[in-house]
Chain length 130, copies 2
């Protein structure tokens, strides 16, 4: 189990890259629009984790509304787990609540979000590789 | 360079440990009050990083006020760098702003915070080992 990524919601992706890429010196390994999730994503690995910049494609979607309400900043952290079903079972047995069901992306990755009420205000994604 | 820790500000450290230790299964490797910083800290390693839970010793200090204003949640992320002076010089050359000078703790670690205005809303600590 380790931190897979820290997702940062931003309105201005180019401006964000001026800090994370140009100033901090991270490399952009992926940059793509993901219409199904309503975001443009830039991934910048840092050690075993990544900084993931998320720009909402529509100011009315969940990332857009997050920024409108709280300003740009950390949207969620993602924890890589080996077995997402057993992780969820273990968390729920201890009273933690998910925001929904485990979902599967086209590429086979599986994910679920732990509700911030269970984590002391941190939206936490659990993520399992295909 | 990697993510050294993610610091989460909490009012109820025992309640937070019920999630991060008991439910998520992380181990508490350190738990201590740091009066000079106004917090009780619990460290829970996760891969090469740590979850750091911060409980304010005084609701009127900066962590206490953070919680009062924004609720419990991620307070800052910390990035381990090899050479903090050259990291700061590189960031400042690109227009990034620190919240203050580089400081040194009694144990020899050195740290500085990058202003959230420069990072798209993320309070980012840079940290160098002794």
């Amino acid at each position: 189990m380790h931190i897979h990524h820290i997702a940062i919601a931003v309105n201005d992706l180019e401006g964000a890259l001026q800090f994370y890429r140009d100033a901090l010196g991270l490399e952009v390994t992926e940059r793509t629009e993901v219409p199904v999730e309503g975001v443009e994503i830039a991934c910048l690995p840092m050690g075993e984790s990544e900084i993931e910049l998320l720009r909402p494609l529509d100011p009315e979607n969940s990332i857009g509304k997050f920024i409108e309400k709280r300003g740009e900043g950390i949207h969620h952290i993602c924890v890589l787990v080996e077995d997402i079903e057993s992780a969820v079972a273990q968390l729920e047995a201890q009273g933690a609540r998910m925001t929904g069901e485990i979902r599967t992306r086209d590429n086979g990755t599986r994910y679920v979000f732990v509700h911030p009420k269970s984590t002391r205000g941190v939206l936490m994604e659990l993520y399992q590789k295909p």
